[in-house]
Amino acid sequence: MDAILALPWFDFTVSGLVLGSIYALMAVGLALIFGVANLINFAHGAVFTVGAYIGWTCAVALGLPLWASVLLVALGGAAVGALIEVIAIRPLNRQSRIAPLLATIGVGLILDQTVHMIFGANPRPLPVAMPAWRLTIGSGSVGPIDITIFVTGVIAAAVLYGFLFHTKLGMAVRATAQDDDAAKQMGVNIHAVNMAVFAIASALGAIAGLLVGIYYNAIDPNTSFQIMLKGMVAIVIGGMANVPGAIGGGLILGLIESYGIALFGASYRNLFAFSVLLVMLLVKPNGIFARGRERQAEPMTGTFVTQSKPIRLPGWLLVLAVIVAALVPFAGKPYVTQVMTNALLYALAGISLTLIAGTVGLISIGHAALLAIGAYASALLTIAGLPVAIGLVVAAAVTALVGTALAYPAFRLRGHYVAIGTLAIGEIVALVILNWTSVTNGSLGVYGIPPLEIFGIDFFSTTPAYWLVLGLVVVFALLQTRLLSSHLGRTWRAIREDTVAAETYGVSSNYYKGLAFGFAGFTAGLAGAITAHQFSYINFDTFNLLTSVLLLTIVILGGLGNVAGAILAAILVAGLPEVFRALAEYRMLFYGVALLLLIRFRPQGLLGSG
């Protein structure tokens, strides 16, 4: 106890508030955008990174003074934000609620890859001359950088307040946030409002990027998603569209992290953030500043899946496709066979995600977690001596159970909250794997995973491995198709279309969501386990957020809920970049552009949603 009391709590509080100011800057932008455009801007983290690099260019490459750098970063950020609105959001014209969210994921990937191409993938220092004095208060101290960040945060908040409440455009923004249709009727130019909001939000995000760079004297092109997630946690704490709440949420998150690190160590930092997020979503989804039970809003129903009839492929074509696929190894190009094996593993995972995201309508951005659970389960069990064949099946069953249990908290969430919740769950799984060193070997990963071998039969060389995976894809595609034509298929779709109406007719939506997660978890766990045996090495980052996003892209490309579509899309998305080297080099750019074009021009996917 004394040891805990003896910690430098003042310093932790200061660093918590500084960190919190940065989170607040991110969160304010996210809350503004959520309020006006009713969407979570997943590109906001990439804007943060762009801001950091514009800052580096101004402050280091050009040697400009700090105030000028901040100004230029704000202008640059605003320009990027306005561009995002014009290019990615406006053309969608409220197609379906999930479309703009997915579009911002695409934009984020494109921006990140652009930064990578210009500045390289490695972090770089961002030295900014600061006075050397520190103000000693009690046992702690405050430095000029702390004050700069905190003051910048306060000024930004004040300017924003002035804008929202004392300008005409600000009033238009508030009106649009309340009711965009009514605002439009009154002659408010919704496009201008949306653009202004994206510009302001992105200016704040970009400034946050510069400030973090100065604070740590380092900028890193790979932190976009992490920082965006922090901003998201902050707005969930503060209440999604609540701008003052976002500031409070940011500061609270900063303090929680700072104190948490003090007590438990730095490697748990993100675990706190995501645990807080999950608890908030479950206990107080309207944020801690919300009051009482509110009038039930018109429930979000049935617009996730674009209304379309799936294209039914004739049976002979499917049989022909399987035969052609089975003949791939005879082409005499082992590299192609390997690429196809990998693509089919994505297909297997894609089949499972299309059930969850398409048929049941739970847009999951954490599907990689299921693959990771399957991979670790099979790897650890077989290293401990279990035969690979049994390891695979047990791992799949474990994934079905654990995956369903982990996803259970997200079952009661609706709309965008499902995306946030599954994202948080996915990150928590990765962080538990990273920190549970005694079992998972932590950041070092698991080595020497036995090769694929089923009861003495070799499945590790290129051709047999390919056939095994192809066989599994065919089997699970058939099983899932059969399920979809049973009472389960219509029950799942009914839950997706209108959960309230389904419950009114006696459907226990949680139970049926659980069934879907169980079946999908089995499939995904198997895909992860086979991947582990193929790679012979896995770590916490083998199945990461990019994997989840890639799988979601595959599922949307194929047509949400469409089994054959998921397989076709997996071959296109995971196979093509490997065959064409130029695409592989700019893979993220390719995925981002593909996602953006897809949502814009063919939201129902190649083969139609089912």
Binding site: G292, R295, Q296, T301, G302, V305, Q307, K309, L479, R482, L483, S486, H487, L488, R490, T491, R493, A494, R496, E497, D498, V500, A501, A502, E503, T504, Y505, G506, V507, S508, Y511, G514, L515, G518, F519, S609
Partner: protein, 292 residues
């Protein structure tokens, strides 16, 4: 308390912030009775129905069905004990076919496909859906045959469109699908929330015929409706609401001639002059009474 009441509600109250949307409402329906609830927009009718059918939670009050307390029961449980409802704005499953929409109404009755077993039920349910033993197939076939029968009561409105997704149907047809779905539940009490809202005259007349048939079958029906003509013709009893309270209750003729009801519909005549505010809502008979 009316003897032999199937559904009884006492003192139902629901507040939204400072507004009391439903204020101490009592209601009871006998087996086979047809009760209509009328009232101007915002009177609290739909909120009342949402509370009775479990869509919303009441702040005070008690509801019983056949003597069993069903206050604030989850909608799913309500369905299981035989309460079926339609929604004011129509809530069909847009991407599902007409057949599948109505089959969802049979969900509470599925037995072969939905095992009642502890712990292993999920695995068994998936396996049964995959393997489809004879019992599951027979049950599914029987349900489908029954759905066709239900749909046949709507003439050739829905039967030719059995496999079409409901988003492609006309508004009136979607409302018909909703009623078919409710009937597939084999409800003990059928709650209809403005079944003819948004329908033209001939569609309304057709729907009125169908509801009259349902009444003739001896079903217990709770109806919210704006079209008073229809209410007056079909109801055994009518309840009028305004500002969350019951202002009149009794036979159609009694309620129709109650000055409080007329005032609620026409606005306060001392303020509004003699121009009826919502004349379109009043049937001919009601208007004459108001003027006379």
């Amino acid at each position: 308390m009316i003897s032999g009441a199937l559904l009884t509600a006492r003192g139902i109250t629901r507040r939204f912030g400072g507004i009391t949307a439903v204020d101490g409402v009592d209601l009871s329906v006998r087996e086979g009775e047809f009760l209509s609830v009328i009232g101007p927009n915002g009177a609290g009718k739909t909120t009342l129905f949402n509370l009775i059918s479990g869509q919303d939670r009441m702040d005070a009050g008690r509801v019983t069905l056949d003597g069993r307390d069903i206050t604030n029961l989850a909608p799913r449980r309500m369905a299981e004990i035989g309460v079926a409802r339609t929604f004011q704005h129509g809530r069909v499953f847009g991407n599902l076919s007409v057949m599948d929409n109505v089959l969802i109404g049979c969900h509470t009755r599925l037995k072969a496909a939905r095992p009642r077993m502890p712990v292993i039920a999920p695995v068994v349910e998936i396996l049964r859906a995959l393997i489809r033993p004879a019992s599951v197939k027979a049950e599914e076939a029987a349900m489908r045959a029954e759905v066709r029968e239900i749909l046949a009561t709507f003439g050739d409105r829905l039967t030719p469109r059995l496999d079409q997704p409901t988003y492609s149907l006309s508004y009136a047809n979607r409302r018909r699908v909703e009623i078919a779905r409710a009937l597939a539940l084999h409800p003990r009490i059928l709650i209809l929330d403005e079944p003819t809202a948004g329908m033209n005259e001939s569609e309304t007349a057709e729907m009125q015929g169908i509801i009259a048939d349902l009444k003739a079958e001896g079903r217990t029906i709770l109806l919210i409706e704006h079209k008073l003509d229809m209410v007056m013709r079909l109801s055994d009893r009518v309840m009028a609401m305004d500002n969350g309270k019951v202002i009149s209750e009794g036979t159609p003729a009694m309620v129709r001639n109650d000055p409080k009801v007329i005032e609620a519909y026409l606005g306060h005549s001392t303020i509004g002059g003699d121009e009826p505010a919502e004349a379109s809502l009043m049937p001919e008979a009601g208007l004459q009474t108001a003027e006379g």
